[in-house]
């Protein structure tokens, strides 16, 4: 986790070229592939990443997930920002 950036709610995050979510039955689910790195996102990270399409704002993603998981929106928003900030620091996300 990083405290190096504060993300505004109207950012539209997306996976940059060279970072892809791939379904791999052999490896037991969806993996995030990046330059010479492989990550296995947990269910929450995956739900967030699948919504990072360069169109949806962070606010819209938080609305969507808060409704889908019946969770407090402020907490969902905080989780999203923490994850996305950390991924951006690792060059895994364009903000």
């Amino acid at each position: 986790m990083s405290a190096t950036r504060s993300l505004s709610d109207d950012i539209t995050p997306r996976l940059p070229r060279g970072v892809r979510l791939v379904d791999s039955p052999a490896q037991g689910g969806t993996v995030l592939l990046a330059p010479e790195r492989v990550f296995k996102p947990d269910a929450i990270a995956l739900a967030i990443l699948e919504r990072c399409d360069g169109v949806a704002t962070i606010a819209a993603i938080a609305d969507d997930l808060a409704a889908a998981y019946n969770a407090p929106r402020e907490r969902v928003l905080g989780d999203i920002k923490a994850l996305l900030g950390s991924l951006a620091d690792k060059q895994l996300l364009d903000l």
Binding site: S2, L33, P35, K90, Q91
Partner: protein, 361 residues
């Protein structure tokens, strides 16, 4: 290594595809073997395409197209097309010399995911001297700019040794200026040509300690701007590296003529029986070839590794290094301070000589 119901115990994640041993450069630390495969013996396009499809079916996620210089293959665009279709995340590891701008654009269109370009030093004259090729550095930086222009992610790979260890900061600055998202600071690993040039490449303990601190400082300085991955200089380490994440556990390597190895240096170990993709499927080789099963898991481990609490962390270290330094591939890696032969590596690390490089040719 089957776990009963046809399920493999281990599933590889990465495939290193050495498309050719041909390369215009002569880097004295090249990881290719001293006896290079000949062009006439290289696998053809169709065989590579089959290997990629078999790799994907086996669970492999990423293919690293390497060499030699992969740009020496005239069918490189077809190879990338096949890798992408497999489907595999496709990474090109290039010297940056001998790959045209036009070919690079065609590779990007064919589905290439990422490019790694090596630079030998931040100082062009020194870089060209290390590569044994006049003008190499300028061509590398020009190609790196093309990669970024095309919108492809770029990693700059820097191999560190005595001649450039004082310029790690400058090399990271160069990677940033080129637009790389990632830089690999890889201390020389002493196999193949690097082993032959060990005394000329070996940095001092003081240089190594300073470089480790410098990399840490650079990581905080550039946090969020560039990813800095480091490969530690293991002659000065206390514990061995878990070579390739454990023998026959995570990755496989196919040589230009089709032999399948657990790691790129495995052919240096005598008596191992490597199978070829010309005769077997990749799944058969991964599961049943004697070479892959020779040091798999932990049952074979000698003492003190067998009773060590780190045995699932480093798997006794590197087999090729154990053989190169003790003559016994089953011995504990001498890098470990608990290994009987550890004193030998301490002595070798202290043996430095300003002698001319034996260039890889």
């Amino acid at each position: 290594m089957a776990a009963g119901n046809g399920q493999l115990l281990y599933k590889p994640l990465g495939l290193l595809a050495e498309l050719t041993h041909r390369c215009p450069l002569g880097c004295p630390y090249c990881s290719n073997p001293l006896a290079l495969d000949r062009r006439a013996d290289e696998l053809d396009t169709a065989t590579w395409a089959r290997v990629f499809a078999e790799a994907a079916a086996l669970g492999v996620l990423q293919v690293h197209l390497s060499g030699g210089e992969p740009g020496a293959r005239r069918d490189l665009v077809d190879i990338v097309t096949a890798a992408h279709a497999a489907p595999l995340y496709t990474n090109l590891i290039t010297s940056g010399v001998g790959l045209s701008k036009e070919t690079l654009a065609a590779l990007a269109a064919a589905g290439l995911d990422h490019v790694q370009i090596s630079i030998q030093d931040s100082d062009p004259a020194s870089a060209d001297r290390i590569a044994g090729y006049d003008g190499a550095h300028a061509r590398k930086t020009a190609l790196a700019q093309e990669v970024v222009q095309l919108g492809l992610p770029l990693t700059v790979n820097v191999v560190v040794h005595r001649a450039n260890i004082g310029r790690i900061g400058a090399m990271v600055a160069q990677a940033l200026a080129l637009g790389a998202g990632r830089v690999e600071i890889a201390h020389v690993q002493y196999y193949g040509w690097a082993l032959a040039n060990r005394a000329a490449l070996m940095p001092t303990r003081e240089q190594v300690m300073r470089s480790v601190e410098e990399v840490e400082a650079l990581r905080s300085e550039h946090h969020g701007r560039i990813v800095i991955d480091a490969v530690v200089p293991d002659y000065y380490a206390r514990y061995p590296k878990p070579c390739v994440g454990g023998w026959g556990r995570r990755s496989l390597n196919v040589t230009p003529k089709g032999r399948v190895l657990p790691c790129h240096a495995a052919e240096t170990i005598p008596g191992l029986d490597f199978w070829s993709v010309r005769e077997h499927s990749l799944a058969e080789i991964w599961q049943d070839s004697p070479a892959f099963n020779a040091f798999r898991g932990t049952d074979w481990l000698p003492q003190p590794c067998q009773s060590c609490e780190r045995r699932e962390i480093d798997f006794g270290g590197c087999r090729c290094q154990a053989f190169a330094l003790t003559g016994d591939a089953r011995a504990p890696d001498p890098v470990c301070h608990l290994a009987p032969a550890h004193e030998r590596i301490v002595a070798l690390a202290a043996a430095q000589a300003d002698e001319p490089y034996t260039y890889r040719r």
